[in-house]
Amino acid sequence: MARLKPTDTPTGRQTALWTLLWLALAALVLWIVFPSTYRWHWDAFWQYKNLFFRGFLTMLGISLVAMVLSVLVGFSLMLGGRAPWIPLRVAATGYVTLMRGTPLLVVLLLGYYGVVSPLNLCSALVAGTALLALFEAAYLAEIFRGALESISASQREAARAVGFNLIQTYRFVLIPQAVRRTLPGVAGELVSLVKSSSLLSVLGIEEVTQVTRLLNSRNYTALEGFIPLALAYLAVTLPLTWWANRLERRFAYET
């Protein structure tokens, strides 16, 4: 196999192959280290595969809804942060700074037990999904802002020169170019959102992490639950990561 320079990117197939290889190796290590001291109870866990699968679907649902919401809110926050009206601008940038400086776990606990639960606003599932989206939105807003600001002043001037007003400038020049530059970063942020959704277990929401913990404690198992749990997340995050890498390579050629 040809030696790669640090700047070369391996092909998608190479990456996939090596990822699988490393996973297999990790499994082998577990297998060798544990047999003498650990009694496997796969059957106990297998019994509850439907519950586990339902948890997996809940996780997927939470992630999908939070993704859509976070992109919408993140985009609005970015626009708000550039608004000509100072109070709005301060509110938007302040929100982004505060959220980015706070751990998601704290946002979830404070948001749910501090606000949503005492006011009886909605279920833990809805609240958790919304809080996750609001949290990720702050990161997305920064990604959008970076992309927009990376578009040079000469493009803005060109837009003004052909007679575009402010809205047309955003619609036809800035946003289409920013979206291209944003996609790889957004895909990466979505991977992080899927992983972060595991923290919703602290609100007792029966997504896949919480389900696994419940099943483990019921059956006195541990790895029989955690290994499938890791695989469940990888099944979602790896395709997203590959997609992000592909986008990155594709847009690298365009400019």
């Binding site: 060109a158 003004r160 020169a161 007679g163 036809f172 365009e254």
Partner: protein
Amino acid sequence: MRLEAREVVKVLGKTRALDGASFSTGDQQKVVTLLGPSGGGKSTLLRVLGCLLVADEGDVMVDGAHLPHEEKEALQVRRGNGFVFQGYNLFPHLSALENVALPLREVHGWTQEKARMRALEMLERLGLADHHTKRPAQLSGGQQQRAAIARALAPKPSLLLLDEPTSALDPVMTGEVLDVVSELADVGQQIVLATHEVSFARKVSDWVIFLAQGKVIESRPATDFFANPESQPARDYLAGLGRYR
């Protein structure tokens, strides 16, 4: 056209890019050229004349009409002008055709079909008939500038403003673009040109405005200016450029 400015001030950042510039050209000038050392204020004056920037102080008139100080009205005047800059004016995410057609549709309200036909016609006129599906990155520097000229000319602007359209190009491409400009001048397009190509300016200009440090030092018919520059800065400038060409 007739261009006039009285005590125009434009501050950019902390620089007085135009610092009390005043001049008045003769009537019926087809090609007005802005000359002067870098940083003298050519680009700023060109943008003010085209209503891409509004002056902070002072008065600017084009054919006797005062240019507005309000951005909203400035936009309307600007839409009647065409601009070409040094480089990077094309929208990189759009094909050459779409670069020309999009403003026709969205700014000038042309129909899809009419805008497309006009864009094809303009690209063909500028020798880009075979390149209309290409993105700017797939065009040479000279082709990009010709596409930018096609875009600027497509809505039939009353004024075409060119800010050093060749200074990012090699000599061959510079030739391509200057040929286009001189053809436009021949067919009577009104042009305001900022450039360092003095021998070209001598050939096409009707009137010359010489700027340094944000002020207009000379404003005279081109033949007079080149035959007998009055001010020391203009003489130094022409001599300095003449030494190597």
